[in-house]
């Protein structure tokens, strides 16, 4: 009898408890908008068979995704400087008297800022109480984010591109890390050229230009055999390498005297892979 009383009392308590918990769980299920947390990030696949635009797009993807940069470098909250103009700004920064780092170019400055954030802290963005000497930013190549060198380059290329300055980072070559992973992709795409000569022929450069190393060429465009010497001085402040890349991707940016604009196709940037671009630029600059 007593046992019965105890059991029924206990039963009531248990049913009551169960109902409460079901109410909690039910509220979690039906009362709250479902937010699906993001899946763990996947490593970016990098191949030599990437065009510059693809490389920039990859940097974009890393910047907004895996790199988690936008958590702070976003227009929200003002936790860190917005980076849409870091491309042009970077070369100003190194001239800042407060700057004590080793970077000589804008590109190096950006890389340094990513790997050693405290080297230069933009005024107002330091850790509280440190008078802008210590950056709250994590090292991007380590820890939770841990970007590889190539990924960092991709981000720099994205920042430079979106800032409207020329992309100067070294482009990934076919032998870049994680090549095996990209193998399948590379096989599907047309095979990238492996020598400068192949590249010149593949894109039909020789139809219009005379290029170093190939005897026959057209004369619709400037003769490029002496470009190695002239490229650096064509546009003031622009390196030969940068000039050549620019001329290939946006031919109208500088038109050599005596030639008409709009003659050269403007879509090479979308077609040429990074490794091919490297081959071409090096060949034109007379480097091996």
């Amino acid at each position: 009898m007593e046992g019965n009383k105890g059991n029924s009392e206990l039963g009531k308590i248990l049913v009551y408890g169960l109902l409460i918990m079901l109410a909690f769980a039910g509220y979690a299920k039906f009362g709250i908008p479902l937010v699906i947390p993001e899946a763990p990030p996947v490593e970016e696949k990098i191949t030599g068979a990437m065009t510059k635009d693809q490389f920039v797009a990859m940097g974009d993807k890393i910047f907004h995704g895996k790199g988690t940069c936008t958590l702070c470098h976003s227009p929200v909250g003002g936790r860190a400087p917005v980076l849409d103009a870091v491309g042009p700004r970077s070369s100003e920064r190194i001239k800042d008297p407060r700057y004590k780092g080793k970077a000589k170019t804008g590109e190096e400055y950006i890389r340094e800022s990513m790997m050693e954030p405290s080297t230069y802290v933009v005024a107002g963005f330091g850790k509280p109480g440190t008078n802008d000497t210590v950056s709250p930013m994590p090292q991007i190549n380590k820890g939770a984010i841990g970007l590889s060198d190539v990924e960092i380059n991709a981000v720099i290329s994205y920042l430079q591109k979106s800032g409207g300055v020329e992309v100067t980072v070294p482009l990934p070559t076919g032998a870049a890390p994680a090549a095996p992973a990209g193998g399948a992709e590379a096989a599907a795409a047309p095979k990238p050229a492996t020598t400068a000569e192949e590249a010149f022929n593949k894109y039909g450069c020789v139809t219009c230009h005379v290029v170093p190393g190939i005897a026959e060429g057209g004369d619709m465009g400037p003769n490029l055999t002496k470009l190695a010497k002239e490229a650096g001085s064509r546009k003031p402040g622009m390196s030969g390498q940068a000039y050549i890349i620019e001329s290939i991707s946006t031919p109208n940016a500088y038109v050599v005297k005596g030639f008409e604009p709009d003659m050269m196709p403007s879509d090479f940037a979308e077609k040429i892979t990074m490794s091919e671009m490297n081959l071409i630029v090096n060949a034109l600059l007379g480097k091996k």
């Binding site: 039906f30 009362g31 908008p33 936008t70 976003s74 227009p75 929200v76 909250g77 003002g78 860190a80 400087p81 917005v82 849409d84 103009a85 700004r89 107002g124 963005f125 800032g163």
Partner: protein, 259 residues
């Protein structure tokens, strides 16, 4: 009486939330009826009912007064008809409520969009970088030409903005209906009145595509104005919308200190 009091209390609270809140809200935002969203309403009602129940049953007297009549209804042999009615009413109500839940709803999915995301520290417009935290409207200082600048801002507004944001600055220009989200209402105290001029300047300069993710940059039709109007025109337009809508720009602590 014990039985009725909490029920009346809950009902009054319900009315307050259902009608009182929108009414109060509509006073400051004419033309709207700011209802309490259903999701919040449910939560509120649950706690109000729970609170009313708890507050009236902590003493035995109160408990019996509230629960007694119900127990009596369910157990008194002389109230068989009434009991049957109550049982059917409650069951049907539950049936109806559950149907409301399970019936397929094809209302557009809810999108959580932040209308005024926090401003960035700097923005790139007209080919230069503006540090928004310290940015001030350069034309504000020019007290002598204030009226002229506002009027010129008005001309900018009427050549570019009023098709969406409206003659009355209420976000209901003659094309507003095509857009989702609808254009910003400058008369509303929740928009430019709580923002600094530099924020508004940034919103004009970089437009919808310049918004951070939570502002749904993919959906807003606000153009990127820095490619279409000059910096000075943008500042003048900012002055005009404040002047015409009768709002004062917010001055942040940092800007105030610099004065």
């Amino acid at each position: 009486m014990h039985f009725l009091k909490p029920i009346i209390g809950v009902f009054v609270a319900y009315l307050l939330i259902k009608i009182g809140v929108p009414f109060l809200g509509s006073l400051s935002h004419p033309g709207t009826w700011p209802v309490v969203p259903t999701a919040v309403m449910k939560m509120y009602l649950f706690f109000i009912i729970a609170g009313a129940f708890l507050a009236s049953t902590f003493s035995d007297e109160g408990y019996n007064g509230l629960v007694g009549p119900i127990v009596d209804l369910y157990s008194n042999p002389s109230k068989a008809t009434l009991r049957l009615c109550a049982i059917s009413a409650v069951s049907l109500l539950g049936c109806w409520v559950s149907y409301q839940y399970v019936k397929p709803s094809f209302e557009a999915p809810v999108e959580l969009r932040s209308v005024h995301p926090a401003p960035p520290s700097s923005a790139n417009m007209w080919g230069k970088t503006f540090e928004l935290q310290t940015l001030k409207n350069p034309l504000r200082e020019d007290k002598a030409n204030f009226a002229k600048n506002v009027e010129e801002g008005g001309i900018v507004y009427y050549k570019n903005c009023f098709y969406c944001h409206g003659d009355k600055q209420d976000g209901k220009g003659h094309f507003y209906q095509a857009f989702n989200p609808i254009p910003a209402n400058f008369v509303d105290v929740g928009t430019i009145a709580m923002l600094t001029e530099s924020f508004v300047f940034w919103r004009i300069g970089t437009g919808g595509p310049g918004l951070p993710g939570e502002g749904a940059p993919w959906a807003t039709a606000m153009p990127v104005w820095h490619t279409m109007i000059s910096e000075e025109e943008a500042w003048k337009a900012v002055m005009f919308i404040y002047e015409q809508s009768g709002n004062k720009p917010r001055v942040t602590a940092t800007v105030a200190e610099k004065k």
